[in-house]
């Protein structure tokens, strides 16, 4: 399975048997040097079997834990199997694997631990309007201050992180609402990890429907605000210091990622 490959794409999937095979095929065709892990988040359809038949590793949760729970499992898997880079990609085909090399290159420069694929940073024509847009821009302003970098799309689930952050996320990953995007980023930034973004274009989703109504957007704004507030005031577990920037473990695994990734990118 893991024959010297160092990059893992984690796809949290919940009842995605329709879109998953084509997403996996596309990844395998465009990125032959990566492994994939489909986290079947308690699906009631054939998601796990379809993913296995398409040649992907599968971790099957016995019941639905939500995106955050599925991602935490993904990071634990990446940590256990010694991957140097973990990339989070939606299983519904919204995230174009063609941008994965861009994320990897940004990581390889060495000044980023977490790279976000941002939708409003120039590429593509993804648009949102009304209260949802206000919510997103408010989040961007606040999170840009926290991470001390310009972020335009903080709720993007298209992101890559290096080995030190895999170690960190395997031990600490928020599992509640918006924890997989907002709180994980705040927690990483507060612990000293560097967050950066690269522009990506987002595709229309092939399956499922986006939620959009003024009322829903207001609820979203409120919940996002609460998540943000909690993320800011929550105490980070003390034992995480051993893996945060500044620790010997961080320096060692960061060096390893840089070496492996450099080799990987020259090969590819």
């Amino acid at each position: 399975m893991n024959d010297g490959r160092r990059v893992l794409i984690i796809l949290p999937a919940w009842n995605e048997e329709d879109g998953l095979p084509s997403v996996l095929r596309e990844i395998q065709a465009q990125l032959p040097y990566v492994d994939t892990l489909v986290v079947d988040d308690g699906s009631t359809d054939n998601t796990a079997a379809v993913a296995r038949a398409a040649g992907s590793a599968v971790a099957q949760l016995p019941f639905n834990l939500g995106v955050g729970g599925a991602m935490r499992l993904g990071y634990r898997y990446a940590q256990q199997h010694g991957y140097d880079v973990a990339i989070q990609v939606d299983a519904d085909g919204q995230h174009d694997p063609a941008y994965v090399p861009a994320l990897l290159e940004r990581l390889a420069t060495g000044d980023a631990d977490l790279v976000i694929g941002a939708r409003f940073a120039g590429d593509g024509d993804y648009q949102v309007r009304g209260p949802r847009k206000w919510a997103m821009s408010l989040l961007s302003v606040v999170l840009s201050r926290i991470t001390r970098t310009k972020l335009t799309d903080t709720t993007s689930g298209f992101r890559a992180c290096n080995r030190p952050l895999i170690e960190f996320f395997a031990r600490w990953y928020p599992v509640e609402y918006l924890g997989d995007t907002i709180e994980s980023m705040v927690g990483a930034a507060r612990s000293g990890f560097t967050v950066r973004q690269v522009p990506v274009a987002m595709r229309a989703r092939t399956t499922g429907r986006p939620s959009a109504s003024p009322l829903k957007a207001m609820v979203y704004l409120t919940r996002a605000g609460l998540v943000l507030l909690l993320a800011m005031i929550r105490r980070m577990p003390k034992e995480l210091k051993a893996f945060a920037p500044g620790s010997p473990s961080y320096d060692a695994s960061r060096r390893r990622t840089a070496e492996q990734l450099g080799r990987e990118l020259t090969k590819a």
Binding site: M1, E17, P21, L37, V39, T44, D45, N46, A48, A49, V50, R52, A53, A54, A57, V58, A59, Q60, L61, P62, F63, L65, G69, R72, L73, R76, Y77, Q80, V175
Partner: protein
């Protein structure tokens, strides 16, 4: 009928029920201890409802009954808060267990030691066709 008859019977019945649950091992000791203590404290009040009147007066509460009502409310609040806390803890533990099960299963499938088709799959041929399509 006197009020004390109603309250004393209720007190004794509740206390008896807690003991019975404990005897049948349906209550963990750590929870049972709280309820037993409450029961033992409250039961005498059932027989003599005026017992708390002097205490209530000194606290500025009109009567012992109001004081019992108030402390009862605070107590129920604390107990349900404690239960929420326990549930959060249990949920976190269940999550970790679920993750471990998934990791172990994924490992076993890779090693070829675990049947990889899910029980929900009735026709694996259909899935192959779906993947190839």
């Amino acid at each position: 009928m006197q009020l004390s008859v109603l309250t004393s019977i209720t007190g004794v019945l509740v206390l008896g029920y807690i003991l019975e649950l404990l005897r049948r091992q349906q209550l963990r000791e750590k929870y049972a201890a709280i309820w037993l203590a409450i029961g033992l404290l409250v039961a005498p009040l059932g027989f003599v409802p005026n017992l708390l009147d002097p205490v209530a007066k000194s606290l500025g509460v009109a009567s012992g009954a109001s004081l019992v009502l108030f402390t009862g409310f605070v107590l129920v609040l604390l107990v349900s808060l404690h239960l929420s806390w326990e549930t959060s803890r249990l949920e976190a533990e269940t999550r970790i267990l679920a993750e471990d099960v998934a990791l172990i299963r994924a490992h076993l499938v890779q090693q070829g030691g675990y049947p990889s088709t899910s029980p929900r799959t009735e026709d694996s041929g259909a899935i192959e066709a779906q993947v190839k399509s």
